[in-house]
């Protein structure tokens, strides 16, 4: 573990997809007029002939990506999570997921930290929606090291994929030796008192919380789940059985996302007392990142407090 800051994942996205395209002529980019935010502009600069501007028209953007995939191209879709998943859901479902086409959908600005935009742009149910679709791979990397590998991995895996790309980075938690594999969860902190399961950049804040908790004598086991679909059932069962009490923590609604996937897994394979923490079935609002993380209780300090509350309330 290092204490360096991660590059913003959107920058990682722009750079890494451009690098992959250097050696892979199948890679193209379709953009919904947000390339300067999602950092698909990096790709436009590097591969202008393979950058397709679809304008402010997300449904057709997904349809075009699907059509391109049928002739052997691998389109990346550059837009915000809210527009990719909510506005363009029908073409995602009918033209991408059902035909199992290799379209790689980037959910930009996913989660709470969407740059002072407010509830229209804050997408908290993207993971719930996307993981419910057959054929769809859903990944949420924690830092730039993992995001880089995840981008390569979803190119190498045939079929549709959805990746959460946060606007900012947080701490870098993986070093260069880290190996990301689709469908594999990773223990990022060994502990014995309870199990925290997290995903995406939120894992960096959960690790911060676990240090605060350690100072209070609470030894948390932390499992990072970068692939929400397919979910790593074995790792989840192991992590749950290690402590006998699980709290899922996600920058996402508590309904049907990571928490849902963990609950489905444990209910079937190893019933374990669980609590769910994340966006508590509400819409968001605009505000500075730090204020949002405090109010919606996703900062390291707030997560530590939430965990303590659950431990105290536990019968």
């Amino acid at each position: 573990m290092t204490a360096q800051m991660s590059q913003a994942l959107r920058v990682t996205f722009g750079e890494v997809v451009s690098e992959i395209a250097d050696g892979d002529p199948r890679i193209v980019m379709v953009d919904g007029d947000l390339g300067s935010s999602t950092r698909a502009d990096i790709f436009e600069e590097a591969h202008g002939d393979r950058f397709f501007q679809m304008g402010i028209a997300e449904q057709n953007m997904l349809g075009v990506a699907a059509g391109m995939a049928t002739v052997g191209l691998i389109p990346f879709v550059s837009t915000f999570a809210c527009f990719a998943v909510a506005r363009a859901l029908d073409p995602v479902r009918v033209l991408v997921a059902q035909p199992n086409l290799s379209v790689k959908i980037m959910g930009g600005y996913a989660g709470l930290l969407a740059g002072m935009t407010g509830k229209t742009h804050l997408m908290f149910d993207d993971v719930s929606i996307m993981r419910a679709m057959p054929n769809m791979t859903v990944v949420a990397p924690a830092d730039d090291v993992e995001a880089r590998q995840a981008l390569h991995a979803i190119v190498d895996r045939d079929g549709p994929a959805y990746m959460r790309v946060t606007r900012q980075g947080a701490l870098r938690i993986f070093d260069e030796d880290y190996q990301f594999d689709i469908g594999r969860a990773v223990v990022v902190r060994e502990g014995s008192d309870l199990t925290l399961i997290s995903s995406g950049v939120q894992t960096t804040r959960v690790l911060g919380a676990s240090e605060i908790l350690a100072g209070q004598g609470i030894d948390a086991h932390v499992l990072h789940v970068p692939t929400i679909k397919p979910i790593d059932k074995e790792a989840i069962v192991d992590a749950a059985e290690r402590t006998g009490f699980v709290i899922t923590i996600e920058d996402h609604t508590i309904i049907g996302g990571l928490g849902g996937a963990v609950a489905e897994t444990l209910a079937e394979h190893s019933p374990t007392p669980m609590r769910f923490h994340g966006i508590m079935d509400v819409y968001g609002e605009s505000g500075p990142d730090e204020a949002l993380l405090e109010k919606y209780r996703l900062s390291a300090g707030q997560v530590a407090a939430v965990v303590s509350e659950h431990l105290e309330a536990r019968p």
Binding site: G55, Q59, V64, G67, M68, Q98
Partner: protein
Amino acid sequence: MTAEVIERPDIAELEELARRARVAIVKAIANAEGGHLGGPLSATDMLTALYWRILNIRPDEPMWPDRDRFVLSKGHSSIALYAVMALRGYFPVAELDTFDAIDSRLQGHPDMTALPGIDISSGSLGLGFSGAVGIAMGAKAIGAEFTTYAMVGDGECNEGIVWEGAHVAKRYRLDNLIVVLDHNKLQQFGWRGESAQDRIPPYTGTELADRWKAFGWHVVEGDGHDIAAFLEVMESVQDADGPVAVVAHTVKGKGVSYMENVFQWHSKVPTAEELTIALTELGELPGDEAGGDGE
């Protein structure tokens, strides 16, 4: 007449193939006890002309990489596509009996994962057209020479995604994309006219052509039931320097008198008596007023 061995059918042979397709369509819907009729029957002559004379395809090699692509964006007319594909030799005509049945390749709406030769799944209106724009754009990106065709309904043009796609198709000057608009003047229910039975067309007069022109497309109008005239139009637009929209004027339910221009026949199953009348009118059964040449 054995359709499968015809190399390049003439107009009379095409008309006979279209008649046989209509017979197959009506029988399949009656057999399945469900499906659509009005839209398939308005599209039948054009699909016959396209699959026998326009599209560069290999029915015995449906995934041939250099084939022209065809997207039936008005996916609810699937049975017409299946009937024409069967007659063209993609699969046995007898397979039409499985239309809409469990495990069938002939799904209610075309499924590219089920039936080779379906270039884009369709059914949610407007999406097939959008996919066709992507195929044409992708073809240019990979340097492929084939042409992409899409058939879009006039009611389907209510969908916003159609105009999203029309915008970028023009912007990227997709001269490898030809859209046939099945302008049959009815949609499933539409807007009320003088009475409950009288429905206002989705677009009247030149409105449909005007819209596509306004989006910068090369627009040609023609008759979607006059096969000779339709072929002339399709051949005339092959070298256009941008995306082409062929506004084909058609009659919903064409070929069966009691279905023509009656909006309820968008999706309705004929009774045994109605089926007899339809097959008689289509020349498949002998009758006092049968107009066809039978077999």
